[in-house]
Amino acid sequence: MDVMPKWAEVTLVPLISLLLAAILSALVILAIGEDPVAAVQLMVSGALGSTYGWGYTLYYATNFMFTGLAVAIAFHAGLFNIGGEGQAMLGGLGVALVLLFIPWPHWTIALLAAIVGSALFGALWAAIPAYLQAKRGSHIVITTIMFNFIAAAVLNYMLVNILRPAGSMDPATERFREAVHLPSLHELLAPFGIEFSKAAPANVSLVIAIIACVLVWLLIWRTPLGLEIRSYGKSQRAARYAGIGAVRITMIAMLISGGLAGMMAINNVMGEAERLVLNAVEGAGFIGIAVALMGRSHPLGVFLAAILFGFLYQGGAELALWTSIPRELIVVIQALVILFTGALDNMVRMPLERMFLALRTARAPKPERKPTEPAE
């Protein structure tokens, strides 16, 4: 019997974990001689206090929605995809190739093409580890880690040797054409009379990310394929009995996962930088892990957690700007969130379960106990 009611499972456990992470982070801030309260205030005002702040928060959140969904869908299939980083890098390459070499007449078509390009490249990069896992039993965690490094090398090669415009010292592609410029929230909201900061990079990709959340939700909970993915993740044996192929599910789940991670590129590469630079992903692939853990692999949870991390990211950038707290504080917070919501889950869960069990037995009347005679 489930000891914990479902509401506790989905809210209490992550919230307590988050609280623990927050307390420790505050202690860290104190330890380096800064004021945690002031830091939080600064983060809130910097990330949420203006449309400029919101614009960045939502921009980062968009990235994290894609990578969070990517990790989450793999989790549902019982696979741990640490390769979101590399897949997103390759997604960026896909976007760049699509946008640089084809003269798209309008951003709408270009966006569709970029989605296809990024998803394709991301999926491709996930396909090899997936295939090796499915067919040869190579541990997907290790292979995806290795593929992150290989992706970095590939991107490095492409940017340094192939895509760098002549005469440029930057390992980056040239700028995409004006025609494929994605409308920012400023441009999108202006017709509705809503004033939104012009400087912030949040753009129409946010809408795509939200659509992706909904589609993933439908896929996971409302389609036979989703049932198959989830059942494979829960019990490979049972899945096999039902005729759900391990190779097929592993491949499909990882292709979707890699595709989603890759699609992040429409936001950061096409929407923000409008060219491909090295390290455009900025660790978002790894933050996806924290986001998926925090969001319990549910698209709604991922959406909320992505916004939380978007806030942390933007707030952290503001901290670095106006105080002497380095930006690495976010990395620490991110680590603590992963630690508590992921690895130390049981530390939070076990006492809670004991509490609920005690509550339940206290409520239920004790069954009559008949005495048993020891043998003669």
Partner: protein, 308 residues
């Protein structure tokens, strides 16, 4: 307030960024003013840093590093009332001052000194990221070496192809050891933070090294032959001093206007003989008045005396 943005490698790289920081600090110390600063963590942040400072009203905004060019190209137009200064790259916009240095000239001088100090007739060059700008350093250096000793060998290596190459002292150290095994007894590091490893290893292994950008002689007193001074500090200082109504446009800092040079102080006084000094100063004058032209790699992407 003015603002300063450091490139990857960080403000305490003891080299390029630190030179910029020193200029800003000098300005703050002399004027009592305050300035904002930020160190980049990643490539992707350049534009955000620029915009954030511009939004916050910082003026002028100085950025140290060629890699800002693209981001600045985007941002400058959005903030026409803000003045920007970019170092090491040219951005053509009405509110931007572009400062570039004749690094090949300074490198030529330290190359001469290297050749004169070398006993093995083999000298080394260790660059950071493999880009035309750094090849410009190398090419100037090699020309200086050959000017003194046409038979000398110049061993040149680059640390990497990405910005990570600015901050990899371990690689710098290993490259130095490799060059020593090839006979080099003077190495010139034009590699940002990576140079820390180069200078360290050179000192450990008992050969001479040449610092770059800042005066790095003090890092290993008596073991650093000299430093190729690139007066980024002056550029920052000037920009800060000029303030919001600074003149924009293109500015070249060369030997003639004191933009580059070599460092001489108590830490290397014993290493630099009078004859060395005389020769170098003579060349310096000639370059300054145009008598001697040092080939600039970036002018035609080639170097007459060095193959990469």
């Amino acid at each position: 307030d003015p603002a300063l943005i450091f490139d990857l490698g960080g403000k305490f790289d003891k080299s390029f960024n630190e030179a910029a920081f020193n200029g800003a600090k000098r300005w703050a110390d002399t004027t009592g003013g305050t300035f904002r600063e930020i160190e980049l963590q990643s490539e992707a942040q350049r534009e955000q840093a620029l915009r954030r400072f511009a939004e916050a009203g910082a003026n002028p905004i100085v950025m140290a590093g060629f890699a800002f060019a693209d981001a600045l190209g985007q941002v400058a137009a959005d903030y026409p009332d803000t003045k920007f200064t970019i170092i090491d790259m040219v951005v053509d916009a009405p509110n931007v001052r572009s400062v570039v240095f004749n690094e090949h000239e300074g490198s030529y001088l330290v190359g001469m000194m290297a050749a004169m100090a070398s006993e093995s007739d083999t000298v080394g060059f260790i660059g950071g990221m493999d880009i035309p700008l750094i090849r410009k350093f190398a090419c100037g250096y090699a020309q200086g070496v050959k000017a003194v000793n046409a038979d000398a060998t110049v061993v040149a290596n680059m640390t990497g192809t990405t910005p990570a190459a600015w901050n990899d002292p371990v690689k710098g150290s290993e490259l130095t050891k490799a060059q020593i095994s090839q006979g080099a007894d003077v190495v010139y590091a034009a590699a940002g933070g990576t140079g820390v490893g180069v200078l360290q290893t050179a000192a450990d292994e008992g050969i001479l090294s040449i610092g770059v950008d800042s005066n790095q002689n003090y890092l290993h007193s008596g073991k650093v032959l000299t430093s190729m001074m690139k007066r980024v500090d002056n550029a920052v200082f000037e920009a800060f001093s000029d303030g919001a109504d600074m003149e924009t446009g293109f500015q070249v800092m060369g030997l003639a206007n004191g933009g580059v040079g070599y460092a001489l102080d108590e830490h290397n006084a014993d290493l630099v003989s009078d004859s060395m000094r005389n020769a170098v100063d003579e060349a310096s004058d000639k370059i300054a008045n145009g008598e001697l032209v040092v080939h600039d790699y970036m002018s035609d992407d080639s170097c007459p005396v060095l193959n990469f």
